[in-house]
């Protein structure tokens, strides 16, 4: 039991922090520009693929830096030549534009890199177990993922609370109307924010690619969950995104470990349920099976009862 | 005669700051009443309290002896109170005709009907045409409201406000941002459409107030410091000091 808890904690932490890297960029973009970027997870995928290609030539480590920069530039170009063009039609059009963009990126990724998982691997130095406990190992690469995401969190926190740029951004996040007071260079700021947000997503992709597999399906798997994170955490709240990421990471990881169903609960309290009844699915399903639905149930509940999210100050 | 609208010790605080500090006001049926006051006196807040946009921190608001505070805007509206907005507030993607017609529907009892065909409702369309004539916009009926001029939009908004047949009308700075000639037209329009109704308006422009109102209340720092006919207010020393003294020149 102890080993299950320890390892579930570790895996939940890795997954949660990965979610945070995606969510931080998304919440930054939303707070500044009012755009819910549906293509964010696709950009994360693009990061993994670009890093894969780079790693084919010069190895893993340069890709860690180059890929986010390349994808960040790509994001800036998307903002400049795509999003900005749609801006005048309103937020719904912008949202739908990013929805289409997500679709296009996935198709282009398949055209360029094929439909199968590509062989993007961790560097040899990290492809070893870090430690062993109860006969189970924890891979060094996952520890590396932890390290990178914690570093990003700290850097973001420091930049946003200590530097001049950060203070301006911070102010703009909490008071969106102030964005226009940033001066005459608002378009430039938007482009920068979108670029940086994309670079953050790409970095998440670069480090997740070798661990979770680099395939055209990786965006769809993570995309909706990231929305859940930023809405549950509260839009515009970096701390909220951090807490919600960990919450959802832990929730989905621990759910796997629980083979408990309502049927058992009823049995424990002395009610006998017919295991073959028409509605039997409702109480024979285990928590482990419900794991993937739980974040969405949380999302719906939060939006009904607390539309500002856990830490947010304004409604979605 | 019972009051059309009555405020009893109305209070509103935002955080620790009390913006409205116990306002008592009674407006008689058929009266045209203006609330004036310097910037920051709480005029807009008071207005939003009456129309149900903000909730009260204390006191009561009564519409024909019925407590309306705490009700949702649409519920207050159904009790016979209609309002306009300081920022132009119309349905920009719909035609002028549709704008007015939407205002007419509830009062004629069609409510949430999903079986009547609006084009075949004679009473609705007749009333809509009537109101269009009243605000002088028959010729512009089929134009999308979003492309009207500013003054036209304000006129349309007054049209929407009276379309529901409410007999208590609240107007929030109906002439803000208008030129002199536009203002004169607007005053004429308001006088015409509020005939036989109770009007409460919040206004900055002294000319408008003295030209329209039967009675004036002066709000300063969340309190009514004076209430009376335009002549009484003009002669009130406290008002002069608090308000007219600094503002009258414009």
């Amino acid at each position: 039991m102890a080993e299950l808890i320890i390892f579930s904690l570790l895996h939940g932490l890795v997954y949660g922090l990965l979610l945070f890297m995606l969510a931080s960029g998304l919440t930054l973009i939303f707070s500044m520009m009012g755009v819910l970027n549906f293509a964010h997870a696709s950009i994360y995928m693009l990061g993994a693929y670009v890093a894969y290609t780079i790693s084919q030539y010069v190895g893993f480590w340069p890709g860690l830096i180059i890929a986010p920069v390349v994808v960040g530039l790509f994001g800036a170009l998307v903002e400049r030549y795509g999003l900005r063009h749609v801006h005048k039609y309103g937020h719904v059009a912008e949202l739908i534009f990013t929805f289409g963009l997500a679709f296009l990126i996935e198709e282009f990724v398949q055209l360029i890199w094929g439909k199968q998982t590509v062989g993007y691997h961790e560097p040899a130095v990290l492809a070893v177990p870090l430690f062993e406990m109860y006969g189970q190992t924890f891979p060094a690469y996952k520890a590396f993922m932890l390290l990178v995401s914690v570093a990003i969190f700290i850097v973001l926190l420091v930049v946003l609370t200590r530097s001049r740029v950060g203070l301006i951004i911070n102010a703009a996040i909490t008071h969106p109307s102030m964005v226009s007071m940033l001066g005459h260079n608002v378009p430039m700021v938007f482009m920068g924010v979108f670029g940086v947000g994309s670079a953050l997503a790409a970095l998440a992709g670069v480090i997740a690619g070798p661990s979770l597999g680099t395939s055209p399906g990786m965006a769809v798997l993570l995309g909706p969950i990231v929305f859940v994170v930023i809405v549950v955490g509260g839009l515009g709240s970096l701390i909220g995104a951090f807490v919600a990421s960990l919450l959802i990471g832990m929730m989905t990881t621990f759910a796997v470990a629980i083979d408990y169903s309502f049927g058992q609960f009823f049995m424990d309290v002395g009610l006998n349920m017919d295991p073959d009844g028409v509605l039997s699915d409702l109480y024979t399903v285990t928590i482990a099976q419900l794991g993937p639905i739980m974040p969405y149930m949380l999302l719906v509940l939060i939006l009904i009862f607390r539309p500002t999210g856990l830490f947010g100050t304004r409604e979605v | 005669m019972s009051a059309a609208i009555e405020l009893r010790d109305v209070r509103k605080s935002f955080g620790a700051t009390e913006i409205i500090r116990g306002v008592n006001l009674s407006i008689a049926d058929g009266e045209r009443h203006a609330v004036i006051g310097p910037n920051g006196a709480g005029k807009s807040t008071l207005y939003n309290l009456i129309t149900g946009k903000y909730s009260l921190s204390g006191g009561d608001i009564l519409l024909r002896d019925e407590v309306v505070s705490g009700l949702a805007p649409f519920q207050i509206n159904r009790k016979g109170l209609s309002r306009s907005f300081q920022v132009t507030n119309i349905f920009p993607r719909m035609s002028v005709y549709e704008n007015i017609r939407c205002g007419v529907l509830w009062s004629l009892g069609y409510k949430y009907s999903f079986w009547h065909n609006v084009d075949n409702l004679k009473d609705v369309n007749d009333r809509t045409v009537e109101i269009l004539e009243e605000i002088g916009m028959q010729a512009r009926a089929q134009i999308p409201a979003g492309v009207l001029t500013y003054a036209e939009q304000r006129a349309l908004e007054i049209g929407i406000t009276i379309a529901g047949g409410a007999n208590v009308i609240l107007l929030d700075e109906p002439t803000a941002g208008m030129s002199h000639s536009e203002t004169d037209q607007a005053i004429a329009l308001i006088r015409k459409v509020t005939e036989g109704r109770t009007l409460v308006m919040v206004e900055h422009d002294m000319g408008v107030v003295f030209g329209l109102a039967d009675k004036i209340s002066v709000l300063v720092y969340g309190e009514i410091i004076a209430s009376g006919t335009p002549e009484e207010i003009k002669g009130n020393a406290a008002v002069k000091e608090a308000y007219l003294g600094e503002e009258v020149e414009d």
Binding site: L4, F7, G12, Y15, G114, T137, Y141, S215, L222 | -
Partner: protein, 410 residues
Amino acid sequence: MIRRTLGLGVAMATFASVASFSAQAETVKIAFIDPLSGGFGAVGISGLKQYQYTAGVLNKEGGTQFEVTGYDNKISPKESLIQLKRVIADGIQFVVQGNSSGVANALTDAINKHNKRNPDKRVLFLNYSAVDPKLTNEKCNFWHFRFDANADMKMNALTDVIAEDKGMKKIYLLGQNYSFGKAVAAAAVKFLGEKRPDLKIVGNELHPIGKVKDFSPYIAKIKASGAQALITGNWGADMQNLAKAAQDSGLKIPLYTYYAANNGITKAIGAGGVDRVRLVAEGTTNPPMTEKWRTLLQGFKAKHPNEDFTQTRITNVMSMLKKAIAKAGSAKPIKVAAALEGMEHKAFWGDTVTMRASDHQLQMPIRILVHTDKGIEFDGDNSGFGLLNESTVTAAEASTPTSCKMKRPS
């Protein structure tokens, strides 16, 4: 590679259906309804290439000529039915499909209804890979033939091997939460219970299909259960990610699988899975057993260097169809179906297989293959690793009874 000659629109389809009847004597058209785009497209396209290559090989031998045309069903039951309508309009009478039992269920149902409603335009469904046992049990019908061993037969063979290992006391079952995954789990529970009542199933778990990014939490759970082996029916990304997580977490127990090879999986398992990952299948490529088989495999590799001949049963589908048409002296589906019933056939790799008449389930020897890099002639994913034949369960031993009550058209 455009899969169909360019038509001038829907109106042309009628013309084509008339034209194809006169051409039928020489060329028999086969419709391949499987995903050719999207996430599962790679598997489908690879299957189509294997079909087309096999057709080429058989066509060179003379006799009935085959032409295999791909119809993209986007792995959706709905699209499959739309494509089936096209196939029928194009005058094609033979449908092959394999990916997803859900699609197979939809197709067998639709074809059964269609044949009942349109006796003059019947279609035969040759299922080469959908292994849900239901298809040849409660859902069996005269127009459906299965050339792959169903999940029960495979599990029967697999548990024969497991049962021999007397040290094995604790087994864990993990599968995808849908009909196939459930069928695998049910079969494992049943056969292990019969063959080794002392063996304990310490976990029987279903995970959401295609939704798990990281299997590490499952591995932690398996590890904590003390299982000595894992049985899984996972395929595609779910298999690949499972193998990856098992390796990362140092799970060193044997893995008994249905589909842990090719399409990137062999490469992903790599050195970590040597002698540890086993797979149950009907044919073998290492060693190829016969020269004829070796030639075909080599020829395929030369033509498609980045593909592997992954579905050996495809050659059975094609050669048995050819034989049946010759035997019936006609390509009419009802006659071909009758000829297929009970047909005995020698596969490319030398095994003798029989199409059981009572449920249209091909009976065949089943092999347990092991993932290794020694003695591999045809590797997977060009990785140097491949599947080596470890043991064979005879057709009689692997066979399972059927509940099918076949209704034959009068």
